[in-house]
Symmetry: C3
Subunit: 333 residues, 3 copies
């Protein structure tokens, strides 16, 4: 399996997942971590493994900003330092647990598993839109599939016409339009589908009525390692003023490896039962089993060793895979 | 584990397992396959794995004789050719999935995983008897054991006196007779037990009454890799006319590896609840747990490396193992 | 993982676990064994695997002192010799299953997996106290953790102040006293905690009333590989006559590897619901999940390769680990 790229911001979870006075314990990039909010309001991220007998610290308790191991009572603070030895002895400064930089932004927590000196929050990709909790209910799902296989799914939306044909009520015209892939100077990749004068998706028909054709755009923006934002826009066909016929939708699809074959999938959906049910159906019933079947089908085989057929619709997915390969190569050097 | 012998017909399943307008998806010899009946009435067997993103084609749908992938819509026909690319582009002829020769015979489907040029249906072993659906209800069971361990079981029927003593009501005289093992010119092995003047098995006593002794035969015929037919015959002791006291029974016991440690076991039983229940008891309650316990006991150890004690009653089983070793050696050369 | 030390007595189980006329089947040191009581009253321990087709003999039946395989009827006696071949032929003397010396003592069964010539029952560690069934109800639990990790737990009782703080109602003063570790000439290790003038544990307060301080001792005795006896004594603070304020408690904690990452934990508790419930709570709810979490956290990593932080309270645990290393080294030489 391919190495993780380390000098990047990864999403660890939602702020809402960190219990008040508690923590979020989560395996990320093959290691167990514990994230908590300290009394100064900042977040801390420390290894969830005591250096004494390797007990998960998340089996212990908080004592202020110190996490006390539930096995023999060693306590570690937000800097990873051992601040509490149960039997009165002071332990050497070298006794500590690993920490990682972690930053809260847009309602999400971002961590940097690489060289700490390079951990500039300015490089966290822009997901400002998802901070609007009136529009976004955060979601989290585990998929037993490699994160790049899931990114392939998201970077080739043509699968919507097959895998999601019933849930989304798509018309078959979705991918008749123009497909373009562009890479920004900062490495972000835009994977755009623009359709002209098509019958809209069923959920739009439900709102604007039958017989109205639209110009439609599906724009996916990708940031390494696998943080994506999808914008869906629709205007009346030929409307040069570009007035939306339904409010444009903007949603995050952010992937973080738990391991090489299991992935945290962070998403949002709108408020209300309908939106929650649609998200559940699309993610849990359609994408989830297909992606796990793909992973099972591949087993331990490396993606390129399996000699996949590359289609034109893969252009965005392959561009993203190449970008990760470049970053991997740069870090190995 | 030993290589599979490839230039042989293996049973893939029963024709009755292929749903009308659908398919049978099954893992055979470590790979996933999809078998379906085309509009011309023939069967097709294609790899159950799309070459694009490795989705199982069995998660898709049929469009006539084309199997359309449920992920991105590529369609493959019975020859393995890609006949449908969703975005209008013609794909090169090299885009295809693997196929195997598959033939329907005797109500079963037989496939040839080796050199296609040698796949002559004349070499399918003779199981004509099981085509008679008035006598045979087809059955299929998975066992988590290597197929040669299960063949050992069938080629050494002495186990009936211990493992099946209650279900079959055997008398202890079953193996007092003559045991012979012979190999035909074509490699078929006959493993014959002939008993003279014995108390019959309980199910025969139930039909002919107490006090009648029989001359009894248990003849197992084996074909590589592990297709067996068992004939049970009983005549009144000393009856030189060989008139059966109960109708002779002829049953298939055909094994196909799913993997090295999991096997498809194809069998038949008679109509009616009694026959179904007896089969269930013998296979599911007696053979099944024993064979899985044997496999668990051996773990990954090769059979010969485990230095098994060889008994005289093993003669047929060992002959079959040797025949497979010869075939393996010939294919490796 | 570290090799097992072989020239030692290990506990296989409790005599009470061997059913009358039956046996105890148990995996010990990576292999399956069958222990039964023969007609002369002695115990026998034979490999639970027939040499013919590797069926577990425990799937068979007893015929007097012979265990008859349930698959093809071979019978083995307490010496491992094949005494019964179902088809009348005498098998060579070399046909046998492995046996190990096994001895009943103190209500427990002890086996010697090493050089039989050295298997002197005089070396079985002294657990005479646990033979008193008026005081001791035997218990057995599986833990998915390496036995040395569990011994670490028992040899560093400071964990009681954290992991068992609620069940035992400890006061925080338990480990204020003197801690000493000593090794006997025969290799036994004494790990002693002696506390002076402390508030007693809650269960003692319940018996002697509030306001009585005690001198308290927690003495753990360890024998290789991992047989431990814990003595808890309490006298009124300063009482030079050492008259117990509550009866001293003496309990076994004896560990035998099933595999490198699964352990049989043998213990006793007192009669009555309260004692059973306390044992269940301490073992099942507190130690059990913590130790399995530690094992999961370590994965396949060797203990020393994981570079554990060593605390002063570890002195006994580390002494025991060193003793095993010496024994291992001596056996490898």
């Amino acid at each position: 399996m391919a190495e993780y790229v380390r000098n990047l911001w990864y999403m660890a979870g939602w702020e809402a997942e960190v219990a008040d006075g508690g923590w979020l314990a989560r395996r990320l990039l093959d290691r167990p971590w514990l994230i908590y909010r300290t009394s100064d309001g900042d977040y801390a991220m420390i290894a969830d493994r005591c250096p004494h007998r390797f007990a998960p610290l998340s089996r212990g308790r908080r004592d202020g900003d110190t996490i006390v191991c539930g096995y023999h009572g060693l306590g570690f603070d937000a800097t990873g330092a051992c601040k509490h030895s149960p039997f009165g002895k002071t332990l050497p400064d070298s006794v500590r647990v690993a920490t990682l930089p972690v930053v809260a932004r847009y309602g999400a927590l971002w961590f940097w598993p690489g060289d700490t000196a390079q951990a500039d929050p300015a490089h966290i990709p822009d997901f400002a839109f998802m901070a609007d909790t009136s529009e976004h209910v955060p979601g989290h799902m585990m998929m037993n599939a490699n994160y790049e296989l899931i990114a392939d799914n998201l970077m080739d939306l043509s699968h919507v016409e097959f895998l999601h044909v019933e849930s989304f009520g798509v018309s078959g015209e979705l991918f008749t339009g123009k497909h373009s892939v562009k890479q920004d100077a900062d490495g972000a990749i835009w994977n755009k589908w623009d359709m002209t004068n098509i019958r809209p998706q069923q959920w739009i028909v439900d709102q604007v009525g039958e017989g109205v054709n639209v110009d439609s755009e599906l724009h996916m923006r990708w940031h390494a390692p696998a943080a994506m934002a999808l914008r869906i826009g629709n205007v009346r066909a030929g409307d040069s003023s570009k007035t939306p016929v339904v409010p444009p939708m903007l949603n995050p699809h952010i992937l973080t490896p738990e391991t090489q074959t299991a992935t945290h999938y962070f998403f949002t959906h709108g408020h209300g039962d309908f939106a929650a049910e649609l998200a559940r159906r699309v993610f849990e019933e359609e994408d989830h089993p297909m992606l796990e079947a793909v992973q099972a089908s591949m087993g331990d085989t490396d993606f390129w060793e399996a000699r996949p057929l590359i289609l034109e619709s893969d252009a965005g997915a392959i561009r993203a895979r190449r970008r990760l390969m470049q970053l991997r190569k740069a870090e190995a050097a």
